[in-house]
């Protein structure tokens, strides 16, 4: 089954990864930092695409899962001085539990209600963070004492490696038999049921996998940035960026999410000199892409393949 993707795509991806790994030797620390954040965003987008592109469920609040992972890890480290990698593990676990609690009622709902539930979850997390400010640092944010590394290059490699491994796992899952069942469940739940698949079980599993990777990436990211705040890991606008990254890269491709995230972060940086208008320009470009190229970069490339 993976034979279709064995050739060009795999070798191109490997080549790109190898090139990316050499960057710390000749690129400035500032750009490395930028790409580091972009790689974490790439994992956010790829986990979102697994849920949307395959299970067919739109998660409007990916930052609920990211935020739970990030804040759990941050709080444990900041208030209880728990060791770094334990915090990260705890963050991922917390996101999984949160995902389970959210998914169980949400998956029973149809139409816009599922999306609404995910949006509401983000609002609630946001209020929670603001209200329990002594625990979470409120609107100012939480300072996190430990860091992954003080070396920009090391941080970069950690992020790159994490993205590559997560991408490989998520992509592999999507192409595997489990991924096919998920795709069938998302596209035509009635028929999938008649073929003998318990779709709720499969969608729940997809949600939990998505939650795991989102939470893990969120937890790692705060140990890179040294802070956790609403504006970076919880805000709806951040969630929108994740969704836009996945759509830009191409829905249902998984790998497209990484591309889209890198594009967004790098583009945002190029526009920094425009000051206030940077967000405006990125949003308008994203809107144009959604309107005129809804299949995104990889999506357009891949669909040319299906037509032959």
């Amino acid at each position: 089954m993976p034979s279709r993707f064995r050739s060009p795509l795999l070798w191109i991806t490997l080549a790109v990864l190898v090139i990316a790994a050499t960057l710390p030797w000749y690129v400035s620390a500032y750009i490395l930092g930028l790409l580091t954040v972009a790689y974490y965003f790439g994992v956010f987008a790829m986990s979102w695409d697994l849920l949307f592109g395959f299970a067919g469920e739109v998660n409007f609040g990916p930052t609920f899962l990211i935020g739970v992972g990030a804040y759990t890890a941050g709080i444990l480290n900041s208030h209880y001085s728990v060791e770094l990698y334990l915090c990260v593990a705890a963050g991922a676990l917390a996101a999984v539990v949160a995902g389970f609690v959210l998914a169980l009622p949400a998956l029973r709902l149809r139409g816009p209600y599922f999306g609404l539930t995910t949006l509401v979850a983000v609002l609630i997390l946001q209020s929670f963070v603001v209200v329990f400010a002594d625990l979470t640092g409120g609107e100012i944010g939480l300072t996190i004492p430990d860091v992954l590394s003080i070396n920009a290059g090391v941080n970069y490699w950690i992020a790159l490696g994490f993205m590559a491994v997560s991408g490989a796992i998520l992509f592999g899952l999507a192409q595997s038999p489990v991924g096919l069942i998920l795709q069938a469940s998302g596209q035509d739940p009635v028929q999938a049921g008649a073929l003998g698949f318990n779709i709720i079980k499969h969608k729940l599993a997809a949600f939990i996998v998505s939650a795991f990777f989102s939470g893990l990436a969120g937890a790692l990211m705060v140990f890179y940035m040294g802070t956790a705040s609403v504006g970076t890991v919880v805000d709806l606008a951040v969630g929108v960026q994740v969704i836009v990254a996945a759509v830009l890269g191409g829905r249902r491709t998984v790998l497209g999410g990484a591309l889209g995230a890198i594009f967004l972060i790098v583009a945002g940086e190029f526009l920094r000199p425009t000051g206030e208008l940077a967000t405006f320009i990125v949003s308008s470009v994203a809107l144009l892409v959604i309107l005129f190229f809804p299949n995104g970069f990889l999506g357009a490339v891949l669909s040319r393949g299906t037509r032959s």
Partner: protein, 291 residues
């Protein structure tokens, strides 16, 4: 005394929420769109009114009119930029149109918000109130503006009711919300109906925005929370039900006021959100939900 003050303040803020939520529900009920740029449209109205007053030095009535016009333009732009192209697009499959429209309105809302911040900074602004001074209601000193806000909100809601139930155009719009194919079979172009509805929405959001600007003031940062609270109210009341939104607006408004007075203003939005969680678990279609 305190109870009376809570009653009065709660009534006014709820009325404002009710107006905003009615507009939001109208758009959802007729064209099926959850407009996530709602808050941004209201902020645009408020800031435009403020600019008319501070920069052009117009009188408060003219300020309000400018704000209304700005909201109307913003609402029409929302329809033509982020809703219509997707509804008519052949590249986007039918089942995914809803999600795309949602994302597009969200992006457009961010764009509007950033534009406002760019031209007018993100500082808080208050619009010069049309009605000034203080009046005493049963012993409680209340700003006249607050009373004015409540009266105008309810007057507008009443006018809307009359429009929908007593005029030809209004009935067509109501029919379109029940059965779009039915109105097409009777010779009405759906696109025309949508344009009318978005225009009405623009006016409603504009009035709500300007009143908010006069009552509490806004900044470009208010856009997000305003959308969130309108959205929470509409979900609580039941998607597509105008009466549900009205009731929910009052529930939320009073919950917020009670919390602000009795516990702390910082926690004002918590109880409503908790209620929302309960509703999502127990009765996700809301109080009077239809669709």
């Amino acid at each position: 005394m305190l109870a009376l003050q809570i009653l009065i303040d709660g009534f006014a803020i709820s009325a404002l929420y009710a107006l905003g939520a009615t507009g939001f529900t109208l758009i959802f009920g007729v064209s099926g769109v959850l407009n996530l740029s709602h808050g941004a449209v209201m902020v645009t109205a408020a800031v435009a009114a403020w600019a008319a007053g501070s920069v052009l030095h117009l009188n408060p009535y003219a300020d309000a009119l400018v704000g209304l016009l700005a909201a109307l333009i913003a609402a029409m732009a929302t329809y033509f930029v982020s809703v219509q192209p997707i509804q008519h697009s052949r590249r986007i499959p039918g089942e995914e149109k809803e999600i795309f429209i949602l994302t597009a309105t969200l992006l457009w809302g961010i764009m509007l918000q950033e534009l406002v911040a760019y031209f007018f900074t993100n500082n808080a602004k208050t619009v010069l109130p049309i009605v000034q001074g203080v009046v005493s209601i049963l012993g409680v000193r209340t700003p006249r503006n607050e009373v004015f806000t409540a009266i105008v909100c309810w007057a507008v809601i009443g006018l809307l009711w009359l429009l929908v139930n007593r005029t030809k155009m209004g009935k067509t719009v109501l029919a379109a919300s029940m059965n779009p194919r039915g109105v097409t079979l009777l010779g009405h172009e759906l696109t025309h109906i949508y344009i009318v509805v978005w225009a009405i929405y623009g006016i409603l959001a504009g009035i709500a925005g300007v009143l908010l600007g006069m009552f509490l003031g806004v900044s470009s940062y208010s856009a997000g929370p305003l959308t969130a609270s309108a959205f929470a109210i509409v979900v609580l009341g039941g998607l597509g039900s105008v009466s549900g939104s009205l009731i929910a607006a009052y529930v939320v408004g009073y919950l917020e006021t009670l919390t602000a007075y009795l516990i702390s203003p910082a926690y004002r939005s918590i109880p409503a959100l908790l209620l929302l969680v309960v509703v999502m678990y127990v009765r996700p279609q809301g109080l009077l939900g239809r669709r």
